[in-house]
């Protein structure tokens, strides 16, 4: 075995072995008032056992891109183009019937608001068991038994007693566990967690994150973690893709990106967030507001808020921030950023 092969078995798998490949994904919503460009050319891949965090603020397109992968966007109004390949098969070219077969056993998803994602009129045991009844034709008794096992697995105390309880009888953290139980019921290869802990208290958040990490280690599934919380990314993820205005502006390992950001937006985020481990001085916020996806600024979408921007004569030829859209490019080994002046941000 050559050295590079040894490395590749521990590092994220090369594209050939990727579980999921997203290739130049675009999602638009055509509305009467105009077209909302929610996702604008996003590409990434996910290997088994890898945790990829997608970090962004509201309106960055992080959730919409995940919903496109899950196939839960209504088309129309959404228009999806690009490629989404699950184990090498193009999901967008598939019949809806085949897509449905991948959802559940292939890819599953958990949401931020567990209460509205659960049906209030069925017991949680029934809802978890439904996965087995629908996808595997299990009997009611068998489905209930496996629901109890799953509830045990996601550490819901006294699972056998609580299996007949209804969603409103559970606390927020427990409801999120029920959601996780449903999501992992069919041993998915990929779990997409969309802001799984945003609605939870910090002590409960820690419990749920621990649970997700442990489950991933047991099953080797790929985990896509969508969040706006820098701390969660740092503690849970291997790699991070930072999204802004519907595109990935920076990508790399969490250690690299968080220690030395290469895009001004990432840098701005780091500086604007207070930290629990230090009092720090005055915060340095990013000026301005996140862009409206119906009217994304020309050139680099971040340039109106950017501290490193170079406009007009100050810019290098072909790298004017208000007119030239910077591509996502390799700026350092293993680091990609969509900024004309990343080297300056990195301080190289």
């Amino acid at each position: 075995m050559t050295r590079s092969e040894i490395i590749s078995s521990t590092e994220p798998a090369p594209t050939g072995a990727a579980l999921l490949e997203v290739d130049d994904l675009y999602v638009e919503f055509r509305q009467r008032s105009g077209t909302v460009h929610a996702v604008n050319g996003v590409s990434y891949s996910l290997a088994p056992g890898q945790t990829l965090a997608i970090l962004g603020e509201s309106g960055s397109g992080k959730s919409v891109s995940a919903q496109a992968i899950m196939g839960i966007l209504d088309t129309p109004p959404a228009v999806i183009t690009g490629g989404i390949r699950f184990e090498g098969r193009d999901m967008l070219a598939m019949q809806p019937e085949d897509q449905r077969k991948i959802r559940g056993p292939g890819i599953s998803m958990i949401f931020q608001d567990a209460l509205s994602a659960l049906n209030p009129v069925y017991s949680v045991g029934w809802q978890i068991g439904e996965m087995f009844r629908v996808h595997q034709g299990a009997s009611r008794k068998e489905a209930k038994q496996r629901a109890i096992e799953l509830m045990d697995r996601v550490r819901i105390p006294a699972a056998a007693r609580r299996v007949n309880d209804y969603p409103h009888q559970f606390s927020g953290g427990m409801r999120q566990r029920v959601m996780i139980a449903m999501a992992i019921a069919l041993d998915p290869r990929i779990l997409i967690a969309d802001e799984p802990t945003t609605a939870l208290d910090v002590t409960v958040q820690a419990q749920v994150m621990d649970l997700l990490k442990d489950l991933q280690q047991e099953t080797g599934m790929g985990l896509i973690l969508i969040t706006h919380d820098l701390g969660v990314v740092n503690e849970v993820a291997d790699d991070v893709a930072v999204m802004y205005a519907g595109r990935i502006v920076e990508r790399g390992t969490v250690d690299d990106v968080f220690t030395r950001p290469a895009h001004p937006y990432t840098e701005g985020l780091m500086k604007s967030v207070p930290q629990v481990e230090a009092k720090g001085g005055r915060l340095q916020p990013i000026v301005g507001q996140p862009p409206n996806l119906a009217a994304i600024p020309s050139g680099c979408p971040f340039h109106p808020r950017c501290a490193h921007r170079r406009l007009g004569a100050a810019a290098a030829p072909g790298r004017e921030c208000a007119t030239d859209d910077p591509p996502l490019r390799l700026v350092a080994p293993g680091r990609e950023a969509a900024c004309h002046y990343s080297e300056e941000v990195l301080g190289v």
């Binding site: 000026v287 301005g288 507001q289 862009p291 409206n292 009217a295 600024p297 109106p304």
Partner: protein
């Protein structure tokens, strides 16, 4: 970064809000004057075509109610000749003749007064009762709400027509003004007294929703009085759905007047109203369909006019709906 740069960036941020399309160009006014909800609402109404159609129709019918002779083409509604009974529309007599051989167009035109009085008076009373009782019940809650809501339930238990029927039957033998006349005022009051409950429930639920909002809490924390909170915060946010409801109700009430007439307690000949005409025309709908058709058309137009104005007003009072 210098202070000046900081300031520029602060204002950049505001401009960023503009470029995102959040800001509307319609309210860009120089700082000389401060707009209020009502002046902005009027500004938005003025540009609403539907509002103008409704308004023109309403004015037309209002003028018709006040000066019917202007519209009757010189005919007297009470100058009848039985020889013309149920004659069909012609170039001379656009709406034809009714059973008794009276010019039908003159009749329909003269009917506007009673029908509009009944519709508008009844709806105003519904609005006042509904908003007042609903707002009190919703805002004060507790036992006030308990008593007022049970009272409303009692009225709900009485069907509109039955209640009005009883009141109009008993009315003339009492000494209560208006009720004892059997005129359009009595009919309007009778209909309103048994028709305000839905408006009350709408207002009550809206008020309860708005009452618990943070902006009402903010006003209370500022020391604002109950009256001020009701008038400035709760009512503007609670009346919109009621406005739409009441505009639709105008038509229902005008039609209900016809039913009362049919039952023998509403307006009686020789009074003239659309309700009377529709009720009378039903008997000969096979032989003379125009007797039902023409008063129904004007009734529908009246109702549409009010609905269009109500819709436009609701949108104008909601800044989020404005273009």
């Amino acid at each position: 970064m210098t202070d000046q740069q900081q300031r520029d960036l602060l204002h950049d941020e505001v401009e960023a809000g503009t470029t995102t399309g959040l800001a509307s160009p319609s309210v860009d006014v120089t700082s000389a004057r401060q707009n209020s909800l009502w002046s902005d609402a009027w500004g938005s109404l003025r540009r609403n075509v539907l509002f103008w159609i409704g308004a023109v129709l309403t004015v037309l019918f209002a003028v018709m109610a006040v000066f019917p002779q202007l519209f009757a083409r010189g005919q007297d509604p009470r100058a009848c000749d039985l020889a013309n009974s149920k004659a069909l529309p012609s170039a001379e007599h656009w709406f034809g003749y009714d059973v008794q051989g009276c010019d039908y167009m003159a009749n329909v035109v003269y009917g506007a007064r009673n029908s509009l009085i009944i519709g508008i008076v009844a709806v105003l009373v519904v609005l006042v009762l509904g908003v007042l009782v609903g707002a009190l019940a919703g805002y004060f809650g507790g036992w006030t709400d308990g008593i007022l809501s049970r009272l409303t339930d009692v009225f709900y238990a009485l069907p509109l027509i039955l209640g009005a029927l009883v009141l109009l039957r008993v009315g003339p033998s009492t000494s209560i003004p208006i009720i004892n006349t059997r005129g359009p005022g009595a009919v309007a009051l009778a209909l309103a007294l048994f028709g305000w409950m839905t408006a009350m429930r709408l207002v009550r639920s809206q008020v309860i929703a708005v009452k618990s909002s943070d902006y009402v809490a903010a006003a209370r924390a500022m020391g604002a009085s109950n009256t001020r909170i009701l008038v400035r915060h709760i009512m503007p946010n609670a009346v919109a759905p009621v406005l739409v409801y009441t505009t639709i109700t105008i038509g229902v009430l005008i039609a209900a007047e016809a039913t009362l007439t049919y039952l023998g307690v509403g307006l009686q000949r020789p009074a003239i109203s659309w309700g009377l005409q529709i009720a009378a025309g039903q008997d000969s709908i096979r032989t003379a369909p125009h007797l039902v058709l023409f008063p129904s058309i004007v009734l529908t137009l009246t109702v549409m006019a009010f609905i269009m104005m109500g819709d436009a007003l609701r949108d104008a009072l909601d800044p989020r709906q404005r273009a």
